[in-house]
Amino acid sequence: MDGSSARVIGIGQPIVGRSVVRYTWRAGLQGPELIWALAFLVPYFATFLLFVVYPIAYGLWMGSNPALYTQLFSDPIYQETVVNTLIFVVIGVNLRMLLALGLSGFFMRREWWIKGLLMVFILPWAVPALPTFLSIHWMLNGDWGLLNNLIWDVFHVNGPSWLDQRWLALWSDVIAYVWKWLPFWTVILLAGRMAIPKDLYEAAEIDGATGLGRFAHITWPLLANLYLVSTLLGLLFTLGDFTTVYFVSGGGPANSTQVLATLGIRDAFVMSQPRLGVAAVMSAIPVLIPLVIWLMRRVRAAGVER
């Protein structure tokens, strides 16, 4: 390392080093240019502060009183709600991802009618959630719903009261959720499968690999990261999902199918205790934060692998 190299990288020249840092912060801009650059940045910072930092900070502040959590944890409805949330999230997301994985393989087939079927298959996702879930709620009505009328017409027996028993109602929520979001994640995994180079499959075929073998040794290893990231994202989205349970089972019967998101709304707006409602939702943070960290690590790992 000669003297000129040392000057360039700043070894033994702390003053120059500081000026390099300032130069980087300003990105080479000075005077009016710097002012204009800052002026253009201000709206973005303001938006970020207003719509990201402020709501989160306000939510944390609203749910900051420990007494709220004492009240929450002593409520038997909350305890049942935590169990429901776990069932809804873990089973709902994994069932959906497994089905999506299988269906994405099906939609890789080259027949012309598969493309048409894919378009129909995407419809549940494309239709707005609210009317969809309301329709499901009405279809499942024990007295005059479409499903029980069909059961009566075909078998001449009365169908169950789908939404009036805890487990049936909770499963109705899970099925409705899977049905609604399955197309989206199928398409994501389909895109992942399409990105796998075909010559890998051709080479495997020459080596005599069967369908299952090709899946185990080519498809799954190359899709696993996407699958895991999608599952993690799905867990995050579903933990905050309010629409499905609110409109399908309504949290009933007798509050036995509430999830944290719907319980938060109930506490905030029905019981007129917004801080308690925020606390109900905030109580998911110990699960949310590790999930986010895990997700970020996976995304970073995927970047490195690539």
Binding site: D143, P253, A254
Partner: protein, 458 residues
């Protein structure tokens, strides 16, 4: 950069600031004459039209402006809670649903004392209207008017006369005591099902934990008929140890859960919201319903056959054969303390409760909501002497007969009891958790005592 330099930006900014400063007094003056109002959407379009007309009349008479939003009551409920939490509120709010928010915010000293507004018509109000809006403030340690009452409602019976007759009964045979009236409809279920109405039920019994209002209203109807009217007294005290109250609670839970287990009401009733029993009644899913206001009937007003086949009946006698009071829900406009224009807000509410204005407003709403001024029934034949078959029995029950306020007016603790649907949960303890009605009542009592401990009233 030609044309846009630092100096030109500074000059422009200063110019804008100067213009704003000069314009500010005019904007402020305009704001001083404007009150923002959030009003609950009516059940029939005529209700909203009559509100708009009342606003137009006020603006003409006062020179002030009312900047109003008419919102569906669920959306309004959420918006109202959020606004009061954040402090960015309108000047007047009137919400038609369960009055939990009003009572809790009065308790927390977040509302303006509107006693001066109420005083302008104090002699004309029903005592129930006054009791319902005179709420406790824990900071002031006293009661004051925190809402301006302007309409009220109670729960009449709604009966499909054509189904009663189809089942082989006469409307004139309907008993005039509480339990017997409910029992009267039970045998109709089998008789109608035998005639091909596969899914028909005797009655729509709101035993829900969703609510927000109907489940509590049905419970109170049974409670009062069983002699438990003294559950909460106007001093805000709860009387769970009173044997009469306790017996009435147990009888109520027993009757309701037994009827459910015997399948006299649709299984979905345990999860109904306030609109579901109306919808069920309209689709003739059951013969009788006990539900607030005559919105059930008014929704069919343009279908004369159905409108006339439905019969509205007031309250029968209690199970002891004595008259029972109707529990009347009173709706009032309230003003948050952080409201920007309290003067115009109060002036507007003074206008709303002028008897002649109030009469015109509520009449245009087809009488779904009842006035809080009994004298209107004597001066205007619309309320008691019109050809409408539904209005008179409803008005008699709500306004001219004996009445009491919803207990939540006495104490915010009971507002929380209602919001938590404690009584609906007690039914669930019986049909879902296998408790006896007595054990379910005891369980409810424990929860209620814990809630009341949070709201001490001196």
């Amino acid at each position: 950069m030609n044309g846009v330099g630092r100096r030109s930006v500074i000059r422009g900014s200063l110019g804008l600031a100067a213009a704003g400063a000069l314009a500010r007094p005019y904007i402020a003056n305009a704001a001083a004459k404007t009150a923002t109002v959030w009003w609950a959407q009516g059940f029939v379009p005529e209700e909203d039209a009559s509100f708009k007309q009342m606003v137009a009349d006020y603006e003409k008479a006062s020179g002030n402006k009312i900047d109003y939003s008419i919102l569906p009551f669920v959306a309004l409920g959420q918006k109202m809670v959020s606004a009061l939490q954040t402090g960015d509120t309108p000047d007047v709010i009137s919400y038609d649903g369960i009055q939990t928010t009003l009572v809790l915010n009065a308790w927390n000293d977040k509302l303006v004392d509107v006693s001066d507004v109420v005083a302008t018509q104090q002699a004309h109000f029903t005592s129930t209207a006054l009791l319902s809006t005179k709420l406790y403030n824990k900071t002031e340690n006293k009661r004051a008017f925190y809402a301006v009452p302007y309409k009220c409602a109670s729960e009449p019976f709604h009966v499909w006369s054509d189904l009663v007759e189809k089942a082989g009964y006469k409307m004139s045979d309907i008993p005039n005591t509480w339990d017997k009236r409910w029992d009267f409809f039970k045998p109709m279920q089998a008789k109608l099902r035998a005639q091909g109405m596969r899914n028909v039920y005797a009655f729509g019994l709101q035993m829900t934990t969703n609510g927000p209002s109907d489940g509590n209203n049905v419970f109170h109807g049974f409670l009062i008929a069983n002699g438990g009217q003294g559950l909460v007294t106007p001093d805000g005290k709860i009387h769970l140890a009173d044997p009469q109250v306790k017996e009435a609670v147990i009888k109520t839970i027993t009757y309701i859960t037994t009827a459910y287990k015997q399948h006299y009401t649709p299984p979905g009733a345990i999860s109904w919201n306030d609109a579901d029993d109306n919808n069920g009644f309209h689709s003739k899913l059951f013969v009788m319903d006990f539900d607030g206001t005559i919105s059930t009937e008014l929704a069919m007003i343009h279908r004369p056959k159905d409108y006339n086949a439905c019969v509205t009946m007031g309250l029968p006698l209690g199970n002891d054969g004595k008259p029972i009071p109707a529990m009347v829900g009173v709706i009032g406009g309230f003003i948050p303390k952080v409201a920007k224009n309290i003067v115009v807000a109060k002036d507007f509410m003074k206008f709303v409760i002028r008897p002649e204005v109030n009469n015109k407003y509520l009449k245009a709403g087809l009488g779904r909501w009842v006035p809080v001024f009994p004298e209107l029934t004597q001066t205007d034949p619309f309320w008691l002497h019109s050809k409408d078959p539904h209005r008179a029995p409803y008005i008699e029950e709500t306004l001219t007969g004996p009445s009491i306020p919803d207990y939540l007016a006495y104490t915010p603790a009971y507002a929380e009891v209602e919001a938590q649907q404690i009584w609906g949960q007690s039914y669930a303890d019986v049909y879902k958790n296998g408790m006896t009605p007595t054990a379910a009542a005891e369980n409810a009592f424990k929860q209620i005592e814990a809630i009341f401990a949070k709201y001490p009233i001196a």
